[in-house]
């Protein structure tokens, strides 16, 4: 039923097809995180791949910076209802990280880990095939701490909480294990086009 007196502000037609249901476009870059912003010195930074509990590869910042780099322009969608079109990122594809480690995708599920102990789960199929990267630059500049720098996961086709900030590693898991927000009522998959915001959304 209509809300009395509400007309709403529409997304311009030329952008409507790119804006998922329930989202509004923003030109700012809002910030969402569960705690204070960690400051991670590049000398202390490292990135680890694990299969289950077992570390299988690890890169220092210098080593990671030598991996092949990819640029992306993508639309991003935050569960708090903002979407931002044409955001420009640069980083290393998850495919290239796996290749550098000499690995094929080891299991069907992945848990991303942050230096702030944040975790979030993503099916491995959503990370490979060019679908996701570990981003270290945004809009032509090193990624700022507020937005997850030195490096964050970028899975643009899922709600943005899946794009873990301050990424410290990826862990391949046998089962789909819930991460931080997924344990707190948010959806296990998080497809913005199907409005999978909360755990009982279809």
């Amino acid at each position: 039923m209509a809300t009395r007196g509400f007309t709403g502000r529409r997304t311009p037609d030329d952008h409507a097809a790119r804006t998922p249901p329930g989202q509004a476009l923003t030109t700012d870059f809002p910030v969402l995180s569960a705690g204070p912003t960690p400051k991670i010195a590049l000398a202390d930074w490292s990135f680890t791949l694990k299969v289950g509990p077992r570390p299988v590869a690890r890169w220092s910042w210098e080593e990671f910076s030598a991996l092949p780099r990819t640029s992306y322009v993508r639309d991003i969608h935050c569960v708090t209802t903002w979407s931002k079109l044409d955001t420009a990122w640069e980083g290393v594809l998850v495919d290239d990280v796996l290749a550098a480690a000499g690995l094929a995708p080891p299991t069907g599920f992945t848990l991303a880990h942050g230096f702030d102990d944040y975790t979030t789960n993503v099916p491995t199929a959503d990370l490979v095939g060019g679908k996701a990267m570990i981003a270290t630059a945004y809009d032509g500049a090193p990624l700022e701490p507020d937005h997850g720098g030195p490096a964050r996961l970028l899975v643009p086709h899922l709600y943005f909480w899946k794009s873990a900030k301050w990424l410290s590693g990826l862990q391949f898991t046998e089962r789909d294990e819930a991460g931080f927000w997924e344990l707190r009522g948010y959806h296990m998959y998080g497809d913005p086009w199907r409005e999978q915001r909360y755990d009982d959304d279809a």
């Binding site: 039923m1 209509a2 809300t3 329930g22 705690g35 204070p36 507020d146 927000w181 344990l183």
Partner: protein, 249 residues
């Protein structure tokens, strides 16, 4: 797998506005009547959804400011963003009797119950006071005496939501400390200080505690939350004890 207290989010339901009145020039109190009541924990939020005649919908999150002990009257504190889509509707159009779609409760991180203990440090500004208010009201409803300090930033005393209610609560409860930090007005009373949330005001608020805060909750706009979380760290709080809720850019 789920946390013991993981929130079960309800489907969309309709609720009538039973009260609408300004809290400050920029923040409006909206009370929704709920039958059946909505069980929630202090700090959680709800999503509200507005629908235009052609079916177009907009939804936004709002923290619950009332205590879990009054689950049939959900109080929200909505700040007006001039160029906003939803918040101006609540300031200019919404009236008592209007039906609003709501879903919740949402959020299992920014929550506190008396069982979680303290000391408890709450830092907020603007409508970011809302979830902290729910915690303070919850604590009062349970006659709990967890050592609690509230640090609230505002331009002037008149811009601080819930000022009178908070002053009355603090007057009746020695374990509740309140400091209003006024950035554009000289102190108006013994609970006011000039300036902004910084390490010094965090130390002043937590003076006399046996140790650092066990739980710190910081809520408001993103720049405020960044500054206040830094202040809490500089004032002695441990990083892992700090939880933040950010309302926007």
């Amino acid at each position: 797998m789920s946390l013991p207290d993981a929130a079960k989010v309800s489907g969309w339901r309709s609720a009538a506005i039973v009260e609408a009145a300004p809290l400050t020039p920029r923040v409006k109190r909206i009370v929704l009547g709920l039958d059946p009541p909505l069980r929630f924990r202090a700090g959680q939020h709800v999503d509200l959804r507005l629908t235009a005649p052609d079916g177009y919908q907009a939804r936004r999150s709002y923290s619950i400011a009332s205590a879990p002990e009054t689950p049939d009257r959900l109080e929200l504190a909505i700040e007006k963003l001039e160029d906003g889509e939803v918040s101006p509707f609540f300031h200019e159009v919404a009236e008592v009797g209007d039906a609003i779609d709501l879903r919740g409760p949402i959020g299992g991180h920014f929550v506190w119950s008396v069982e979680d203990g303290g000391p408890l440090l709450l830092i907020g500004a603007g409508s970011g006071v809302a979830p902290l208010m729910s915690m303070v009201r919850h604590r009062a409803a349970r006659r709990d005496r967890t050592p609690t300090a509230l640090l609230l930033g505002a331009r002037t005393a008149a811009d601080a939501p819930y000022r009178e209610e908070l002053l009355a609560l603090a007057a009746a409860d020695a374990s509740l400390g309140i400091i209003f930090l006024l950035s554009r007005q000289t102190p108006q009373g013994p609970f006011d200080r000039a300036g902004r949330v910084d390490a010094q005001s965090v130390r002043a608020a937590t003076e006399g505690w046996p140790g650092p805060a066990r739980h710190v909750f910081v809520c408001g706009s993103n720049p405020f939350v960044n500054a206040a979380a830094e202040a809490a760290l500089a004032g002695g709080a441990a990083s892992a004890s700090i939880r933040t809720e950010r309302y926007g850019g």
